[in-house]
Structure formats: C-alpha cells, structure tokens
C-alpha cells in the first residue's frame, strides 16, 4: 500500500510539474497581457481611464469618489478630466457599476468642458438604484461659479440638475446621507459672501437639495477670511462635525491658523446649528484643536511639482459618533516643507489628543484623507514625497495608531510627467469606508510598470507592461500623464 501511495504521490508531483506549472505560466502571461499583476492580492488598484480613451494624455488630477451605499457596486469618481469630444460639452464623471472593476466616462456635470473643483456624494438613491448623486462643482469660464446639483441616474445621458448656484465661493466639499425624509446634503465651502471674514461655511440641505441654507461656522476674528478647506463629516445618529482652518494672520506666504472643529447634534436642522462645541479658552463655538500653526501657502510648485496650503480631513466613527479624527498639514519641523498630523477625540470633540497620534506625524506629505470603518478601524490615506517619488500610503489602525498596518498603493516618479497646471496630483484625494472595505482614489504618474504599484494594478486603457508604454489602442505611443486610480483595501479585522 505504501508503495502504491508513494507512486501516487510521485504521480501527483509529476502531474503538478508537467501540467500545473506550465498552466501557471500561461495564466501569468495572460494576466500580464491584460494589464494585471500575476498574483492578484485582495487589494485592488485600477486605473480609471477607459479603454476607449486610450489616446488621452491629460493631467487628470484631483480625484474624488462617491459610493452608492445601498448599492455599493455603483460608484462615481471625478478628476480634472475634460470633456473628451467637445470644447463646449459637459465636464464628465467616471461611473462604475461593478464595484470598481471597470469605469466609463459620462459627461453629465453642469459645467462646460472641465470643472475647476468637483466633489460629490451619493445618498440612498430613492429615485433610482444609480442615484442620487449630489455634486458641488466650480465652473471657471470667466467667473468662478458654484453649482450644487443632482443626478437621479448617473448612467443616463441627462445632465445633472442644478439646484443652487452662486459666485464668490471656493472649494466645495460634499457629503450626503439618506434618511427617510429625503437626502441630507452638507457642502463645505469657503464663502466670500459671508460677513466679517467668517468665510468657513456649510451649505446644508435637508430636502435632497431642493433648498440650501448657508451657515457660517467661524466665530472668531479672521485675517479677512478662513482657509479654503472646509470639511464636514457625518455619523449615522445625526451628529455632524466640520473642520476648517481659522486663518488668524496671512502674509502671502504663511497662514497663521487654528484648526477648528464644530459639531451639531441634530443634523444641522436647528435654528443655530454647529454650536454644540465651545472652546474653553474663549467660550466661542468651535473647538480649537491646535492654535496658531504656520501653514505655508504656495500657488507654485513647492512639494515636488505640487502646490501646498490647505490640506485637511476629518472623519467620525459611523456608529460611535463620540470618536472623531482630524488631520492637517502645516510647516512642521525645521527642514520640512509640509508635515501631516493626526489627532483624535473620544468625547465628541470636547478634548483632543495633545500631540500627534503615534506614528501619525508624516514629513513632506499632503493629500490626507481619513475614514472610519464600521468596526472602528481608521484609514489614513496620504501621498508623501520621498526620494523623488510620490508614494501613496493607506495606513490602518484599530487603536489610535498605537499599532498600524501600512500599505503602499503606488510609488511613482515625482518629476515625470512635467505638470500641465496646478494642482499636479490634486489639492486632495479621497477615502471612504463601505462594508469591510476602504475604497478611495488617488492620482499618480500612469507609467504601466508593476514596480510602481506594489499591490498590483489593472489598466483599462491600452498599456504594454513589458515595454512600460501606453498606446492609443491602435499601436501609436501615448505620452505618460497623470491619471486617477481607484483602490479597494480590506479593512483589517
């Protein structure tokens, strides 16, 4: 029996060598030809540019992402991507209906040709399983105009319906949540129409965008205005936080700024919203997390080819609204250009960690985005300039960064391609938690080289990973450019 078993084992081994190994090689070659790494991990990284736009070489920077939470295979992403067929047509968004495996471009935003800021969020989709997308866009044709708009079906050819519009605002940042009475939408904007330089503002709609109310959230004297980034964060119990840079002085190169967090406990539906948190130092609304930090402001390349000046993110635990994280960038230590910091509150923003969380001081980095999963694990996405490369990290922790797991999603040359405009990668990227995944978007040099994407990558556009070149689908070479990338990373247990 032993001899038979031994022969069987030998036969199995021979079978493996003769059949399985060549099959593996064939499979690996097939996957390489498809633009996938030979050993696909559970982490997914996908270049968003569709195959039918393989000839494009735009700087598709500043990505954003919305997920239809009740139908999470439907997602919408955006970037500074121009309308691919018309100088006067609508600026497009990217739509995925298969959990990010594939993306298609649909020109439905209300802005002509290309936005100069766009963020968006999807609520319940009461009108359609591919709705409701709520977007905040800036059009910059001759004057800068904010449109707050809605799509009931992101795959339809209908342009988004503009529900509210006004000028003289900057950097809309949209979050939305569906409730039984309709979608609640919160748009952080830096609104120069506000009085007394109290420009940090949240536009609130509790009726699906039919009406908006602009609520200034700054309570202190400013340097004439606040910083551009105003970021809301929503918990399922109706708690709404918002973080902003309260600019106290500005000399053209440095903003001396407070990082301020406000809170509302009733979904900002009351008469005086966002006044639940007061700072003990002056009893004014808005808790000062850090005071008078120096934030370098440069509208020219400063960190590699990227500009700097207003990197900020806030995230609340969706199920335990007392837990909230905030991250920002400032001048940091001597010798640093831009330093990221992460702090945490576990008592609804009343008190904050006095120093950065362990390992959460990141040198020469930008584009921070935080998200918290259902199990309380925080995700910390950022892009760091390191050894002339842009390295995109996703760090996860379940204990306030006492222990952490860091995944590098991309490490690409920082000096190629040469920037077409600013921002080079974006003034932000984005991270969301859905189910047991962190999903997000970042921008990077699009050279098809597996060494640049340690977790593997899928390109939809025509790419030759052996030659590390792009082509237009007909064999003609296409220059390297900046592309948006989607990723999905399992939430750590």
């Amino acid at each position: 029996m032993k001899a038979v078993a031994s022969r069987l084992r030998f036969s199995s081994l021979l079978f493996a060598v003769l059949l399985v190994v060549p099959l593996s090689v064939i499979m690996a070659r097939f996957l390489i030809a498809c633009g996938q790494s030979p050993d696909p991990p559970s982490i997914k990284v996908v270049n968003l540019i569709p195959a039918s736009l393989s000839g494009e070489s735009n700087q598709d920077s500043e990505p954003f992402l919305a997920i239809q939470n009740e139908n999470p295979q439907v997602m919408v992403a955006s970037a500074f991507t121009p309308n691919p067929f018309s100088m006067t047509g609508n600026a497009p968004v990217y739509v995925s209906q298969d959990s990010g495996q594939s993306w298609a471009l649909n020109a439905i935003t209300p802005v002509q040709r290309m936005t100069c800021d766009i963020t968006h969020a999807m609520a319940t989709g009461e009108n359609h399983p591919r709705g409701d997308l709520h977007a905040g866009t800036l059009a910059c044709a001759s004057a800068i105009t904010l449109d707050e708009s809605e799509s009931n079906d992101v795959a339809s050819s209908a342009a988004m319906n503009v529900q509210s519009t006004r000028g003289n605002v900057d950097q809309p940042f949209v979050r939305a949540m569906g409730v039984s009475s309709g979608d609640r939408i919160y748009v952080g904007v830096n609104d120069f129409n506000q009085a007394n330089g109290h420009t940090a503002t949240i536009d609130v709609s509790v009726d699906g965008g039919a009406t908006y109310r602009s609520i200034p959230i700054e309570a202190r004297k400013t340097a004439g205005q606040d910083g551009p980034s105003v970021r809301p964060a929503l918990a399922s119990d109706g708690t709404v936080y918002a973080a902003f840079f309260g600019w106290r002085k500005f000399d053209g190169k440095t903003a001396t700024s407070d990082v301020v967090v406000v809170r509302d406990d009733a979904a900002a539906t009351g008469t005086n919203p966002f006044r639940a948190l007061k700072d003990p130092s002056d009893k004014l609304p808005g808790r000062v997390v850090v005071k008078n930090v120096a934030i370098p402001w440069s509208n020219a390349p400063a960190l590699g080819q990227e500009r700097i000046g207003s990197t900020l993110s806030i995230a609340v635990d969706p199920n335990r609204s007392a837990i909230v994280y905030v991250s920002w960038a400032d001048k940091g230590n001597k010798g640093d250009i831009y330093t990221l910091h992460v702090r945490r509150s576990t008592d609804r923003g009343v008190t904050w960690s006095k120093t950065d969380l362990p390992g959460a001081t990141i040198h020469n980095a930008t584009n921070v985005s935080l998200a918290i999963a259902n199990n309380g694990v925080v995700g910390f996405l950022y892009q760091q300039l390191s050894a002339r490369r842009w390295v995109t990290h996703l760090v996860q922790s379940h204990d306030g960064f006492t222990t952490a797991r860091d995944v590098v999603l991309a490490t690409v040359p920082a000096d190629q391609p040469v920037g077409q405009f600013l921002p080079y990668l974006g003034d932000y990227d984005y991270l969301l938690a859905v189910g047991n995944e962190f999903r997000g978007v970042f921008c990077a040099n699009n050279t098809p080289d597996f060494a640049n994407f340690p977790q593997g990558v899928t390109f939809q556009r025509a790419a030759d990973f052996s030659a590390k070149t792009l082509n237009d689908g007909a064999g003609n070479l296409v220059p390297i450019s900046i592309d948006p990338f989607y990723f999905s990373v399992p939430v750590m247990p």
Binding site: S57, N58, S102, A104, S142, S157
Partner: protein
C-alpha cells in the same frame, strides 16, 4: 486645406454617393452643418436594434449597435477604428433595421470599454472622405486645441472687439484694496492678473479704438481655472477676441495717464495666431 473645406468636401461626397436623403444642394448644406456640429462621424452597418455594445450603457428602444465601416471624424483621444461596434442612441429607431448602412453624425455619450454616442443626424449610405482627427479633449500643453468654425463664430459673435494687434508691454496688475481695507480673497484659483498693452493694427469687429491701444488683463497663474486662458508675451502678434473686463473686479485702468476700459481674453480660442486671420475674416463675413 482648411478644416471647413474638408467638412464641406466630405458632405458633398456624401451627397453624390447615392444616399437617399442627400441629393439636393440643401441636403449637402445640412450635412456640412452637421459635420461642423458633430464630434464623431462614421459610417457603419446596423448590427443590432434595441441593444448596446458594452455593459455601461443603458439599453433602450433608442439604442442600436453599429458596426463601424469607416471613420470620418473623431477626437484624437478617442480610440475608435474600423471594425469596432458602437452604441448609437438614435432619434428615431424606426428608421433603422439590421443591415441598414448609414453615416452617423454624433456627439460622444459614454466612453468605457467601448464608445457610445448620441445621434445628431444621419444619412443613409456610406461616407467617402478623409479622416479628420480633432484635438478636443487633448491636454492644454500638447497639440494646440483647434477651435472649430462653429465655436469660433459663436465666440466672435459674443465679443465686443475682434482685433489684429501686437503686444507692446506686459506688466503685473495689483488689484486696488477694498474700501473696508480688508484683504482680497485668497484662493488656490487666484489669477495673478497681469496686463498686456496691445497695439491695434486693425479692428475686425467693433468700433474705433482710442489711440489704437487696448489693455488686456489676463491671468498669469497656471491654476486649473486658468490653464486654457491665453497668456500674453511681449511682441506677440495675433487676433484677439476681447470683452469688457468684469472678471478681475476692476473694469478700468490707466492708459497713458488716462482712465480707460480694460478688456479680457479668457477663453479657449480668444487669442489666435496670425495664420488664422483669413479664417477669422471669412467667418466674420459669413456670420
């Protein structure tokens, strides 16, 4: 050969190739107009009705799948070639049957693993004509974006002035402080306004220019908001479409010690090279 004449030529060729709807001079004119409006033009054979060629496109009774026989016009960024299948959202599905051959004048719709387009018009039969690749959707620092006749005509129609001129000076413009003394708004989209002094050599549209000089205020910043706005350099010559400047917040400036109007030239195609002069004059003659 100018693009417009290429379009007209293709349209005329369509007219004489046996198409049922294209035999009259009016039809040829309509096709030339369609060719100007459409961003993607191809001839093909209908292979499926009430169907789509890839999953991202919503299927309806108005969507048909067309096998591409030849491409007449497309943007460079779009990957489309003979043999591809394209989804066309048609205006009247009853006009088509499987096997119908037509030339489709379309605009883009959805770009995914394939191409979906929306019909602007069609002509029964196949097109014969050169492939025209446009630069729509291309990066602003690559091939200069070519403004179509229609877009240029529309742009000139809304201009206060269209002039031929030369830039004699470029200087930074500092916005005056507000009455309240509050600093001006700081954003990442700050234009960093500069002024170009343009010596006007001829006025193609608009009244007489005082002193043959205009001041054109332009954003020098390379922010995404202004990346397609023309940037001026000393001694630059060109054709400029100008509008009274409202964008920078101060519509007047000082010219030779006197207060004068400021103009802006902010859009794609607002500053054209001298090589476009003949086309501009022709379009102004036939608005």
């Amino acid at each position: 050969m100018k693009i417009s004449s290429l379009f007209l030529g293709a349209g005329l060729l369509l007219a004489v190739c046996g198409c049922t709807n294209a035999a009259t001079p009016q039809a040829a004119t309509d096709q030339a107009a369609l060719m100007g409006k459409a961003s993607i033009v191809f001839s093909g054979t209908v292979s499926q009705l009430a169907a789509t060629s890839f999953a991202d496109v919503p299927k309806s009774t108005q969507t048909i799948v067309v096998h591409v026989d030849s491409i007449v016009k497309k943007p460079a960024a779009v990957s489309l070639k003979r043999g591809d299948s394209v989804t066309v959202e048609v205006k009247d599905a009853s006009a088509f049957q499987e096997g119908t051959q037509a030339t489709f004048y379309t605009d883009g719709w959805i770009f995914g693993s394939g191409v979906a387009v929306k019909e602007l018009g069609h002509v029964m039969g196949a097109a014969v004509g050169p492939v025209h690749v446009t630069t729509a959707g291309q990066n602003p620092q690559g091939t200069p974006e070519q403004i179509s006749d229609q877009e240029l005509r529309e742009r000139m129609n809304t201009s206060d002035y269209v002039v031929v001129g030369r830039v004699t000076d470029v200087r930074k413009w500092n916005a005056p402080k507000s009455k309240s003394g509050a600093p001006l708004h700081v954003t990442e989209h700050d234009a960093d306004w500069h002024e170009a002094v343009v010596e006007v050599q001829s006025v193609l549209k608009g009244g007489k220019v005082k002193g043959n000089k205009v001041i054109v205020r332009f954003p020098s910043r390379n922010d995404v908001a202004w990346v397609r706005s023309p940037k001026f350099t000393k001694n630059q010559r060109g054709i400029f479409c100008l509008n009274r400047g409202q964008t920078s917040g101060a519509p007047t400036t000082t010219v030779s010690g006197q207060q004068g109007n400021v103009y802006t030239c902010l859009g794609h195609g607002d500053a054209l090279p001298m090589s476009e002069e003949a086309r501009v004059r022709a379009l102004l003659k036939n608005p």
